[in-house]
């Protein structure tokens, strides 16, 4: 496959809510809650941020690294489960704001937390078919959770954008192969006109997250004839801090292989942004020739697995936009009341 990543960009809002603060609110034991979720704090969108603005920030960073004239971007796909409008695409606003309109195609993708990687696959197909020169795939969310629901400890905001193009000297990575695993599994859902999602509880981890993530990773490695030892880095969807560590260990990956992309302990679960932000964090520090496994997961349910090989373009491009670590360091803590105001949970 002759398709690569020519630019990538991350964005994480500045605001952080500590798990202790959420636990204090609901009378839970803070240390035990932190341990059981593997999350210390989560990123929260500011009052003037949403999936559109997060996508624009990430896409602009991807274009800076790509060094690409935005008018050459032939497709913009935004994967999210928190699009600001029920009807009216996020992708048209984002495409207009980055200067990609009007000679292009755009659409919103929905598949719980894996809609962004579905966008990468769509762009890969279109680039390879020669339909477009560059395609922008974005995964971004301002994840909603009902107050007091266990989801609240991790549901977070953030996003990442990948600019997909033909593989040449400008590429930061080649996409060696992709493999998906999909079934109808009702582990997590939100009905029309309902503000917060529902879920099947903790038992859904096994038939949902684990089954699909493991199957996609194993299927991709089988297809390529590779084993975990052939990869320098791996990143998995991160609904909390524990699942990705457990899935890595079941597959035979070591902690050192997943460390660079494991962000959920510091930012929570950014849903559609999670696996893609982890991949961006890996690219921030990767060397030419390294191989990366990236596996997303979306409830409902499915996983997209990718094998990438880092190319020479990374050295020239990684410093052209803020890194994930810059966003991790630049943070402001808020209390639960401010969180309620920012996420519009106050009843008036």
């Amino acid at each position: 496959m002759e398709v690569g990543i020519v630019g990538y960009g991350a964005y994480i809002p500045r605001y952080r809510l500590r798990v202790e603060e959420i636990a204090r609110m609901w009378g839970a034991d803070p240390q035990q809650t932190k341990r059981s979720f593997g999350v210390e704090e989560k990123a929260v969108a500011g009052p003037d941020e949403d999936t559109v603005t997060i996508s624009v920030e990430a896409a602009k960073n991807a274009l800076r690294r790509g060094g690409v004239d935005p008018s050459l971007v032939g497709a913009v796909y935004v994967g999210s489960e928190s699009h600001p409008y029920a009807v009216k695409p996020t992708a048209t606003i984002v495409a207009e704001a980055v200067g990609a309109t009007p000679e292009m195609t755009a659409a919103d993708f929905e598949f719980a937390c894996k809609a962004g990687t579905a966008g990468i696959q769509a762009c890969m197909g279109m680039v390879e078919a020669g339909m477009i020169k560059y395609g922008m795939a974005i995964g971004a969310d301002t994840a909603q959770s009902s107050p007091g629901d266990p989801l609240e400890y991790a549901a977070a905001a953030g996003g990442a954008a990948f600019l997909v193009g033909k593989l040449d000297r400008e590429a930061v990575a080649s996409i060696e192969a992709t493999y998906s695993y999909t079934t109808d599994t009702p582990d997590f859902w939100r009905r029309e006109m309902r503000p917060y999602p529902r879920h099947g509880g903790r038992f859904t981890g096994r038939p949902g997250y684990f089954k699909h993530t493991l199957s996609a990773a194993q299927g991709l490695m089988r297809k390529l004839g590779l084993t975990p030892r052939d990869f320098d880095h791996a990143v998995f969807h991160q609904p909390n801090g524990r699942f990705p560590v457990e899935v890595a260990s079941e597959l035979g990956f070591s902690m050192s292989q997943i460390r660079a992309g494991l962000l959920s302990p510091k930012i929570g679960n950014t849903y559609s942004g999670a696996a893609m932000l982890g991949l961006a964090a890996i690219l921030d520090g990767a060397k030419e020739g390294e191989r990366i496994l990236a596996v997303s997961y979306g409830s409902g349910a499915g996983s997209d697995a990718f094998s990438l090989i880092v190319r020479e373009g990374i050295e020239r491009k990684r410093d052209l936009a803020p890194k994930v670590s810059d966003y991790l360091e630049d943070k402001v803590y808020i209390d639960y009341a401010t969180y309620c105001k920012f996420t519009r949970k106050l009843v008036r």
């Binding site: 500011g46 920030e57 409008y85 052209l320 810059d326």
Partner: protein, 138 residues
């Protein structure tokens, strides 16, 4: 504001497209149709501003219009863009004590306001401090 007016101004609001006089090179934002210096010989063309600038002046708003009530107190600044024009913009992701005259800012894309729960959402630019060690430091 009515939907048609918001829509017509999208290129200015989203991507800072102003105009530049092809005769004297002066940049205008918001866009002007006629260069006040060159008049008839001036030729104005669309021009996209970089979005980089400095705080020319600012104030902290403690009592603002209803649309911005949830963001009080917020910082409102006159930003001098590097191409010359000065624009009024809210400074996002900061508190009043952090902002100083001369501070470097970049224009970022944010929600400005919305027309109730059923109307359209107005997006546009706000200024953000360029924090050397942090996220804005590109």
């Amino acid at each position: 504001m009515h939907v048609p007016r918001f829509w017509r101004e999208i290129p200015n609001r989203y991507t800072l497209v102003g105009t530049r006089c092809g005769h004297c090179n002066k940049v205008f934002f918001p866009p002007r149709a006629i260069c006040p210096r060159c008049r008839r010989v001036g030729q104005l063309e669309p021009f996209r501003l970089s979005g980089r600038g400095r705080i020319h002046s600012f104030t902290t708003v403690y009592s603002g219009p209803r649309d911005f009530k949830d963001q009080l107190p917020y910082v409102l600044a006159i930003v001098e863009l590097e191409e010359g024009p000065r624009v009024m913009a809210q400074v996002t992701d900061c508190n009043g004590e952090e902002v100083k005259i001369g501070d470097e800012v970049e224009m970022v894309f944010r929600r400005i306001k919305e027309e109730g729960e059923e109307g359209i959402i107005h997006y546009g630019f706000k200024a953000r401090l360029v924090r050397k060690a942090g996220a804005g430091g590109s």
